[in-house]
Subunit: 139 residues, 2 copies
DNA sequence: CCGAACTGTATCAAAAAGAGTTACAAAAGG
DNA sequence: CCTTTTGTAACTCTTTTTGATACAGTTCGG
């Protein structure tokens, strides 16, 4: 399982929270719905909380709610809140430094990565959590 | 090293081929420049050949050349020729089927993946191998 | 103020995928 | 034919993500 599925799970989790409204949802419940371990969910919620998308409450009667209305949560925010990998990785080993090409390659590719990431975010900014929910319900 | 660096290596390899012009370049030489194993390079060239970007010749005096001019090789073609992973993976385990949300989630996310992939390709289509070479040389 | 119910997080094991390596068949050229 | 070189199969090593266990710290209700 070396492919990052956090974004997919995050969308799922946020949808559950949206449906719950003001009610605090426990990680155990979410884990049951998503069919995974509660810790995996808590780790994810921890990232989403840092991104200002959800609010978690510790202790008895605790749980998590959305920090904003679904219509105000853009998928780009979800993407940015998570440690998603880059689209492509740089060379795993440094290229041979005698090779004149390798020397300036990294800088170019790094810039390209940033541009691509920006494209992805722009695309994801077009959708909000509300769009997702509507799309799923009408299906 | 579970992050896919094939795109980065491919750009590097294509640049080497561009510099060699009509001369056939051997996988051993490329591997030396990129600092990896010749088989890794041959696997990569195999993909690039399927994508119509390079031409490899078997046997003594064999090697690889570009199939087109650098200015006619768009980075989107490179991307498409390689088995690059998706930006995000779907759930690793199927969501709980009792969960009404999970059921239609996969379809939505799959469509989103395709859209993002299209964005990436559009961005990469703006650059050709010649742009890469110019960018690297002036740096 | 005590105990139950949660989250937050550290730590470890399991699983998956890429990268590196070895080995060898098949093709081409002299 | 004999050498050179690609194409590919098969295996190991390493890295990353996911899953699981454990426990400290917080909050609420008696």
């Amino acid at each position: 399982m070396a492919a990052n599925s956090q974004f997919a799970v995050a969308i799922h989790v946020l949808t559950i929270l949206a449906k719950a409204g003001d009610e605090r949802v426990k990680s155990d419940y979410i884990a049951g719905s998503v069919n995974t371990n509660p810790v995996v969910i808590r780790r994810l919620l921890s990232n989403l909380q840092e991104g200002g998308l959800v609010i978690s409450h510790v202790g008895a009667g605790g749980g998590t709610t959305l920090a904003k209305q679904p219509k105000d949560i853009h998928l780009s925010e979800v993407y940015k809140a998570l440690p998603c990998g880059e689209v492509f990785a740089l060379h795993s080993k440094e290229p041979n430094q005698d090779c004149p090409i390798g020397k300036n390659m990294a800088a170019f590719l790094c810039g390209l990565q940033k541009e691509i990431d920006k494209s992805i975010e722009e695309k994801l900014r077009q959708y909000t959590l509300r769009d997702v929910i509507e799309n799923i319900e009408e299906a």
